[in-house]
Assembly symmetry: C2
């Protein structure tokens, strides 16, 4: 399955470098813990990091009901650009010019609307908690009515989506390959450390946390 | 040294949670490999990941001269919001509501202008290459005039800046602390892997790459 490119999801410079594969986009969205939400407030751009979860073809964004993005969204939604980038490594070229990074990036454009339906909101929050580990939502206390009222969830349809990735060695100019400089890739990985239980916790660390033991 | 808060760098919701310490902000900007640049194009928000380097009180953003952000900036600059977030861990609470992440985030607002001065541009590119490892700019080929013409650098003054961080255990409701759910922190760290030399490279991997050997 592919997304249909639009003006906003087409590159001016390198149209051939963008991908529109749903599978690739969804794998990147699902792997990332944080997304970067761009929106306009009082005529100027703003970017906020927030937690997200994909459920089918919808991206849910978490927010407090007092935050600017959600206040803007109260009346029928807010135009957003959501960006997720996973950094995979540094790319050392023999030339300054071709230094680069290896990465996987998804950009989503669209109108994010506050989730009004209480069941949809509950389900989105449940899935958000499960991004901390499969089953975590059943292994922690459900929200009270007051907590629910303080939590906002925006829904963004995943229709206008592009993917850009870079992997592999540097793109060297043929004239540079004999220069005696080191060149190559240095991978960067996010690793999960050893869990730090909160004071008073007596149950063992659940395996869904993927924490080192 | 502290930044002076402005409307844009003051939180509606939790004003006390934002910091304005230059030292803290600069350490976060310097540690991150990628920043997220928000800007407005044709009336809609856009966010792009890009490389950055801080030189004194200026944040330089890297771009191709054919990219939308830089095209927008040609005539006197472009309003941007630059966000950098370092993710330090997942925070498991006994309640859905208090699940959180530990992070360090910097937000910069201002007008980014294309660097016209050739010496300033050279210096910014040199410092950008040195973010790959101290001294890397002297250990790789300098740009040609053609490469320089293809590379755009935007300068953003670091004056309107805020910092938000979260560290430590979950903020539990007192009523929840005796619930028999696991709670605590699971640290996330970015680690540098083993270098993958490019084809034909005969010199040893430089230590400035911080690659594992």
């Amino acid at each position: 399955m592919k997304f249909t490119p639009t003006d906003r999801t087409t590159s001016l410079r390198n149209p051939g470098k963008l991908l529109y594969d749903k599978d690739i986009a969804y794998r990147i969205l699902d792997e990332a813990y944080v997304c970067h939400v761009g929106y306009i407030a009082n005529g100027v751009p703003r970017v906020l990091p927030t937690a997200h979860v994909r459920v089918g073809d919808v991206l849910y964004l978490h927010g407090s009901t007092g935050s600017r993005a959600l206040l803007n969204a109260r009346d029928g939604g807010v135009d957003v650009c959501v960006e997720v980038t996973l950094l995979d490594g540094l790319v050392y070229s023999r030339s300054w010019f071709h230094h680069s990074v290896n990465y996987r990036c998804v950009i989503v454009h669209g109108r994010a609307e506050p989730v009004q339906d209480e069941r949809e909101k509950w389900r989105a929050l449940e899935m958000l908690v499960d991004t901390y580990g499969t089953g975590r939502s059943r292994d922690s206390r459900e929200p009270t009515d007051k907590e629910l009222a303080q939590t906002g969830v925006l829904a963004l349809p995943l229709t206008e989506v592009s993917v850009k990735t870079r992997q592999g060695p540097p793109n060297e100019d043929p004239a540079d390959v004999d220069l005696a400089y080191w060149a190559g890739e240095v991978p960067l990985t996010t690793v999960v450390g050893a869990a730090i239980p909160d004071e008073g916790v007596s149950v063992p660390t659940p395996s869904y946390t993927r924490a080192k033991t």
